[in-house]
Symmetry: C2
């Protein structure tokens, strides 16, 4: 049985869990970075750059560092020449999959007439 989840802002004095979630992933680029990592599993910096239409290296770098600091993604550097850096979701980051499934579900309803 699926545990029902009632929407609310949290108990009085407590932070709203929906806001807490949005503090972690609540911007456009952050969503798209996580989307790509959920789909591909592991990606290099340049692959992320190519996969997201319109993002600049600077912005991608900033968002990746934020997500790493929040424990959503991991960063692994391979000491090679040329350098290689791979990004993956952490266990916590993979908990975000349900949100993206629902986003896709909703996005598909938009395409219906």
């Amino acid at each position: 049985m699926i545990e029902p989840v009632a929407l609310n802002k949290g108990t009085p004095g407590e932070p709203c869990p929906i806001e807490a979630a949005l503090d972690v992933i609540g911007t456009k680029w952050t969503f798209l970075i996580i989307r790509d990592l959920l789909i591909e599993g592991t990606l290099r910096f340049s692959d992320l750059l190519k996969g997201m239409e319109g993002i600049s290296p600077k912005t991608l770098s900033l968002r990746l560092k934020e997500l790493e600091a929040k424990g959503i993604i991991g960063r692994k550097v391979y000491p090679e020449v040329p350098p290689r850096v791979e990004y993956t979701l952490t266990e916590r980051g993979r908990q975000l999959e349900g949100i993206f499934i629902e986003l896709k579900r909703f996005g598909l309803t938009l395409a219906e007439k």
Copy 2:
């Protein structure tokens, strides 16, 4: 049985449904407006204003008009003095509930140690 949803960016040449969804609800204030309407059902302008810490009337007004134009919320004006305006989710807007349930679920996992 729940239909499985595979994450992907959509078929080649097609828009990514996740991006389509984010185009509709992808900003901080937009999320919080919909959250409040999902919880409360119907809200007046001033109630939305009070429910969201930090938003200004101008910003709220702009976001509400965007959401109305996208068919997510409905706006009803009562010709009274003083005027009363109520906002509710449309049928399309209520389709967003699954996203918020998953956001809450994730937000609660953040609180766990």
